[in-house]
Symmetry: C2
Subunit: 313 residues, 2 copies
């Protein structure tokens, strides 16, 4: 840790109270030392949040950038049915970045972390040659052998999605059009909620056979499930929970940064229509083969090409 | 993972063979799933390697950048007396970066990973708006309660360092002066060796009471030990193992990126002069108070100020 970053680090260290006994040594040693619950496997995910790729300073207030940064990692843990245990933040900051920006970024990140009882246990800082660079690491845990993988889908199973789709990218389009938005009025984009409770419920009830979070867009993430499970799939256009507020079918099919969960369940299992307060919608079916199709109400189908969500870099 | 990065990822996935049973699911799911040995605590460390801050493309061949990137994380695990279990790489790449550069970077990183039996189990990729960005995460393990912390030093204990000091920064100075160097002839800078075997030995033999790796320079890292242990210290100038090849006392005292281990041991304990083939030198003593001093052979002392190593950003 370069000396000039010390005030920043000390600030994080003060704010990120170590809670419970799972963290034995946090910020301020070569490594964090953690105790995972007995009989559990470790889950690890890392996610970049890069300025002008994943966020823009002129569009996103710093607390939203911090919130979204952590949400990316927490959502990955949720998509395995896991419990987040600790977070680690690598932060590269331009020399001329105001301390106020950093403080609000950290506040946004820690607010979400505290709500999910995920202490910030370590990380790294560096001076960035250009733009703000954040990399969030979340360590989670799941009972041994119980992680919900992408590869567990089988033909005949049904396909489900949490919440509604399309509003995150619809908000992004408004920002691109130069609209001034109140962040708190567009929470799906600025303050997305990782679906931890849903993920844990699906794992505890053994309902989901495969699962992924929709970070790259429904079409791309469904493709990931089909690729890893070696299956095809069909999505019913009419069933898609397209969000209100100007989201189009296209937004719902291809928009990224949704943080909803896409999962499969056996046809015999009753999947609740609402889990932990979040609507759950059956949107399709897993098929043999390798093609992903879109079916309209009149019975016609077309190939659903992966949209290839690429943020806005 | 953006689609355009897929070939890169597939390449890593092919190359980073999953070895042993500790990794249950690696690259290609929302999280990696790992099984830690029973009775062990988890160690986590994250380290940035940023272009023009930690390396320069015109100075460092890509395999050296990959090696150094992973060495940063492995060295932190060594400094806790831990065993590295898996690595995770977040990689931000400029759009115009040749695939050859990426392949050689990954090859350098994986060569070190394979030598230390540390599989690459996941990570993230993104397009970088400017410059190459790498963040390495290493997950390690240590028997519960046995991690060697920075905070364990007590007055009266002796201070030791592995290897020799100063050549990494001496090489850097030559690069700054525009000298063309053969990387293989300057391994301490281009291909540093994390002191894993020494770290594990010191933990298994219960020799070290505190430990840190010298990444910020001896003066700064000794300061970290003293700060966390709430002690002072004295370093004997005459005892310092200053490296050959043009390294000065100043280089040895303040040069960073050394990847040597600095540790303390009780006066009654016999610390071998060579551990796992690496020389170990007694260089000072832990004292009451909070000041770090430098003592010359004639008995004079002066305050040793932390040098504040800041790479070359």
């Amino acid at each position: 840790v370069p000396l000039k970053e010390k005030p920043l680090i000390q600030n994080i260290r003060r704010t990120a109270a170590l809670r419970g006994s799972k963290i034995k040594t946090g910020i301020g040693d070569d490594c964090a030392v953690l105790r995972l619950p007995a009989g559990q496997e470790a889950l690890v995910t890392t996610d970049f949040s890069l300025e002008n790729v994943h966020f823009r300073r002129e569009w996103h207030p710093p607390d939203s950038v911090g919130h979204r940064c952590h949400a990316r990692g927490l959502s990955d843990i949720a998509a395995m049915g896991g419990v987040p245990q600790a977070a680690f933040l690598s932060l590269g900051l331009p020399g001329d970045l105001p301390q106020k920006w950093v403080d609000e970024f950290v506040a946004g990140l820690l607010k979400l972390a505290n709500r999910y009882s995920v202490p910030l246990a370590g990380g790294d800082t560096a001076q960035s040659p250009d733009g703000i660079l954040a990399d969030i690491v979340v360590l989670g845990s799941v009972p041994a052998g119980k992680a919900i993988l992408r590869s567990g889908a089988r033909p005949g199973e049904f396909l489900y999605v949490t919440g509604s789709l399309g509003s995150a990218v619809a908000t992004l389009d408004q920002l691109r059009d130069g609209k001034k938005l109140r962040p708190r009025s567009h929470p799906k984009h600025f303050y997305p909620e990782p679906r931890r409770a849903v993920g844990q419920y699906l794992r505890e009830k053994k309902l989901a056979t495969s699962m992924i979070d929709i970070s790259d867009g429904l079409s791309t993430d469904l493709d990931h499930i089909c690729e890893e499970s070696k299956t095809g799939a069909v999505v019913y256009v009419e069933a898609l929970p397209v969000a209100g507020g100007g989201a189009s079918l296209r937004d719902a099919l291809h928009g990224g940064d949704e943080y909803e969960l896409l999962f499969t369940a056996r046809p015999g299992r009753q999947v609740p229509k609402i889990i932990a307060g979040v609507p759950v919608t059956r949107i399709g079916e897993i098929l043999p083969g390798s093609k992903v199709r879109l079916a309209t109400a009149d019975g016609k189908t077309q190939i659903l090409k992966a949209g290839g969500w690429e943020h806005f870099g």
